[in-house]
């Protein structure tokens, strides 16, 4: 159990004061720029709960996680990846653009997958913050379960691990349903270089 969750009353007062000082700092230190407006400095309950150096208690984490699971929109026509284009998926996986104060919000965002994951085994430049996804479907298969899980993970990773480092691509409108389908094809299509 972590102290911030069950802090004794006496400590609460000083914690609240410190929080006020912190909020003051955040409010005075940033300014809006382009699409990066000040409301981006506000936290939702997941962000708030996951902003501590230590893990939260399991019950709280589980409650938050389930709420995130409710946010996932499954593909409207049941098409998880067959209708997707792995070549488009590659472009989305490769591009890290979007959502910064410099980006035009009218231009589609990238998924930035390579920033954190290995995908195409031939691509040397990949990050290691996330798990390595090289040979994704070749290794994991294409069962309904794994396909559905993968969609959910891309749409809202917090539904599986509430403090996941991965952005909530669908939930936060980073990627459209169509874009997610392309990325899914990149992971599942036997012709995709990911599975070569």
């Amino acid at each position: 159990m972590k102290k911030w969750m069950i802090a004794p009353l006496a400590l609460c007062a000083s914690v609240a004061l410190a929080d006020e000082r912190f909020d003051e700092m955040i409010q005075s230190s940033f300014k809006p720029h382009g699409q990066a407006t000040m409301d981006r400095m506000e936290q939702d309950e997941v962000q708030k709960a996951c902003s501590q150096p230590d893990a939260m208690d399991q019950a709280t984490a589980e409650k938050l996680r389930q709420a995130q699971m409710e946010t996932i929109q499954w593909p409207s026509d049941g098409d998880y990846w067959e209708g997707g284009d792995w070549e488009e998926g590659h472009k989305i996986a490769f591009s890290g653009r979007g959502m910064t104060w410099r980006d035009d919000p009218e231009v589609p965002n990238g998924g930035g997958c390579y920033n954190c994951h290995g995908l195409d085994p031939a691509e040397m430049s990949y990050g290691t913050i996330g798990v390595n996804l090289q040979g994704y479907a070749k290794i994991r298969g294409r069962s309904d379960e794994i396909v559905k899980y993968t969609w959910g993970q891309i749409y809202n990773a917090k539904a599986y691990n509430v403090c996941s480092d991965m952005p909530r691509n669908g939930f936060n409108g980073i990627l459209t349903e169509e874009q997610i389908r392309h990325v899914m094809a990149y992971l599942f299509d036997p012709e995709s270089p990911v599975n070569k």
């Binding site: 490769f94 890290g96 653009r97 910064t100 930035g112 920033n115 430049s125």
Partner: protein, 154 residues
């Protein structure tokens, strides 16, 4: 103590050192002022050799190209050339996959060692060539340098 002279000749107007050197007959106007543009504009390796009026030299281990195996960023790739060949007159650095192949020509007067370094830009992974003219003959060696993509593209 600072050995660098900050108040050194800042070539305001005038001829600067090039003009002075030419005037003093130290270097010919051709050498100092008219770089061989055709050589630098060559957009194929063959074009470079043609501009030099030579056949493509065979690869030769008497020339060493010192460079990293991988350049994390193609904007700055350290390259050096050394050779034990006597009477080296010119050391050239060429990049096969760049739009213009020739990066630099080092003209070495007598007394200057055939041991130079610089930093070049590389558009992509490529063979990089060191071409040496010694005693009127050309010698060449190469090394492949991989250029990785970097950053997040954010």
């Amino acid at each position: 103590m600072n050995p660098q002279r900050r108040d050194a000749l800042k070539t305001g107007g005038g001829l600067g050192i090039f003009g002075m050197l030419v005037a003093a007959g130290v270097i010919t106007p051709g050498a100092a002022l008219a770089r061989d543009a055709k050589l630098f504009e060559a957009d194929t390796m063959a074009g470079v050799f043609e501009a030099l009026g030579i056949e493509r030299p065979e690869l030769n281990d008497s020339v060493t190209l010192i460079a990293p195996d991988i350049a994390e960023n193609g904007a700055v790739v350290p390259v050096g050339v050394t050779t034990d060949l006597p009477n080296v007159e010119v050391v050239s650095i060429l990049v096969e996959e760049n739009p213009n192949k020739l990066a630099a020509n080092f003209n070495l007067p007598e007394g200057t060692l055939a041991e130079v370094q610089t930093r070049i830009k590389m558009r992509q992974t490529s063979d990089v060539y060191a071409l040496v003219k010694a005693d009127g003959k050309y010698y060449m060696n190469k090394k492949e340098i991989k250029v990785t993509l970097g950053g997040c593209g954010g």
